[in-house]
Structures are given as C-alpha cells and as structure tokens.
C-alpha cells in the first residue's frame, strides 16, 4: 500500500469513526419524552441521516440565529411561532432553505452534503413528513443551541 492509498484509507476511516461517534438518545427512544408542542407554535426537526462528509459539521442558523449543528446521524428540533423561516448552513458557501411554518405544524429539514471546491456543502432541504419521520427514527438527539 503506497503512502497516498494509506492517507485516503486513514481519512476514510476517520470519517466513518466520526460519523459513528454521535451520541444521545435515539428519536425512537425519546418519542414519549419529547416536549409537547406549545400552543401557537410549530416544530421544525433538523437532521442529518448520513455520515458522508462527516468532518464537515457547520452550524445551522434559523433566521440568522444559531440553533444547532449539522452532525452526522444527529437531529434536533426547535419550536417557533408561525411565520416565514430561513434555514442556513455555511461552509465555503451559504446554502439556504426558505419555508413557512404554521401553528401546530411539524416540518422536517434534512441536511445533505454535496461536493464543494475545497469542502463539502451542507444544504438543507424540506422533506415530506412521512419521509422525515421515517428517516429520523434511528438518529440521535444532539440538542440544540440558542433560544
């Protein structure tokens, strides 16, 4: 094995290990203990269901406010008043998702990775409720930051 192959192998192994290192209860284990949705608010689940590009873990902003981090196999949620929201991640470029939120509504935002010039781009996408609910089951709660 030449040095270049070793370097790629090591980097790949590190990425896989990083992706597996996410801790916290699984969504399926904490469903019963999740806080009820306060009246006159909606809930946004934000999650990342892949370890691809695991080393790239940018902050996630909601209307400019840091609410969490893009961690492989992790999820968090925020309860917000109805209105217009912009989910944004930044690596070498900003990637944004604009969406509405209604009272009593639950929305699922998946964070995916695409190739970038120097680093991968993490982009938020709005997914169907049933798909989000399914994909989030085995992901781990990483908590959120900010209000």
């Amino acid at each position: 094995m030449n040095s270049l192959t070793k370097a790629f192998f090591t980097a790949g192994l590190l990425l896989v290990m990083t992706g597996c290192a996410t801790t916290g209860p699984r969504f399926s284990e904490m469903t019963a203990s999740l806080a009820n949705l306060p009246s006159d608010t909606g809930r946004i689940y934000i999650y990342r269901s892949s370890s691809f590009g695991a080393a790239v873990q940018p902050e996630v902003k909601l209307n400019g406010e840091v609410v969490g981090q893009s961690v492989p196999y992790g999820f968090f949620y925020v309860d917000k008043k109805p209105g217009n929201y912009e989910v944004m991640t930044s690596t070498e470029v900003d990637r944004k998702l604009s969406m509405t939120l209604e009272s009593g509504q639950t929305r699922f935002v998946r964070l995916s990775i695409s190739f970038g010039f120097f680093v991968g781009h993490v982009y938020p996408e709005l997914v169907e409720d049933e798909i989000g609910r399914q994909e989030i089951q085995d992901l781990r709660y990483i908590g959120n930051s900010g209000p």
Binding site: K96, L97, L126
Partner: protein, 92 residues
C-alpha cells in the same frame, strides 16, 4: 390534480406535482391564481431551495410563487394541467 405533472425548472432541477393532490386557492398575483397544498412538499431549487406554491392561469401552470420571498418565479413555458375543480365547502 388528476394527472401527475413533471415540471422542468430550467435550473437543471425538476419537480413532480403528484396525482391526487388537492390544491387550495390562496390568492391572486398578476400572473395568475396561487394555490398551495398540504398533500406534498413543493420546493423550487437553484443555488438555494425555496418552498413554493403553484401559479395557474387559464388552466395552465405558469410558474411558482415563493411565499417567503413573496416573488414569482415563471416557467419558460406554460404547462397544461389536468385538474378537477372541487365545489367549495358549504357554510353551516
């Protein structure tokens, strides 16, 4: 929506309006009537992704209304829709 509709966004992305979805009138802009649905997620995508409603004029899909940006994103060509109008619910 009586038939599935494939829409090319002109940004290299495409979207499908699913058969059987029900769309509700939410308002009118200069380009047509705006409808939204809770039966599917609809977004338009370029460098960023935006939630979108459809804009219909004379039975044709003419573009998308972006409710957060409050802007109209036109299609390069109108697409005929196969739709069935539902009677409005009667008031009690």
């Amino acid at each position: 929506m009586e038939e599935e509709v494939h829409v090319s966004l002109g940004t290299g992305y495409s979207r499908v309006l699913k058969k059987g979805t029900t769309w509700h009138f939410v308002g009118t802009i200069a380009s047509g009537d705006v409808f939204r649905t809770k039966d599917q997620i609809l977004t338009v995508e370029a460098s960023n992704i935006h939630e979108a409603y459809i804009v219909v004029s004379s039975g044709n899909l003419v573009g998308f209304y972006l409710p957060v940006e409050k802007t109209f994103s036109p299609l390069s060509g109108a697409l005929e829709l196969s739709i069935k109008e539902l009677a409005p619910k009667s008031l009690p």
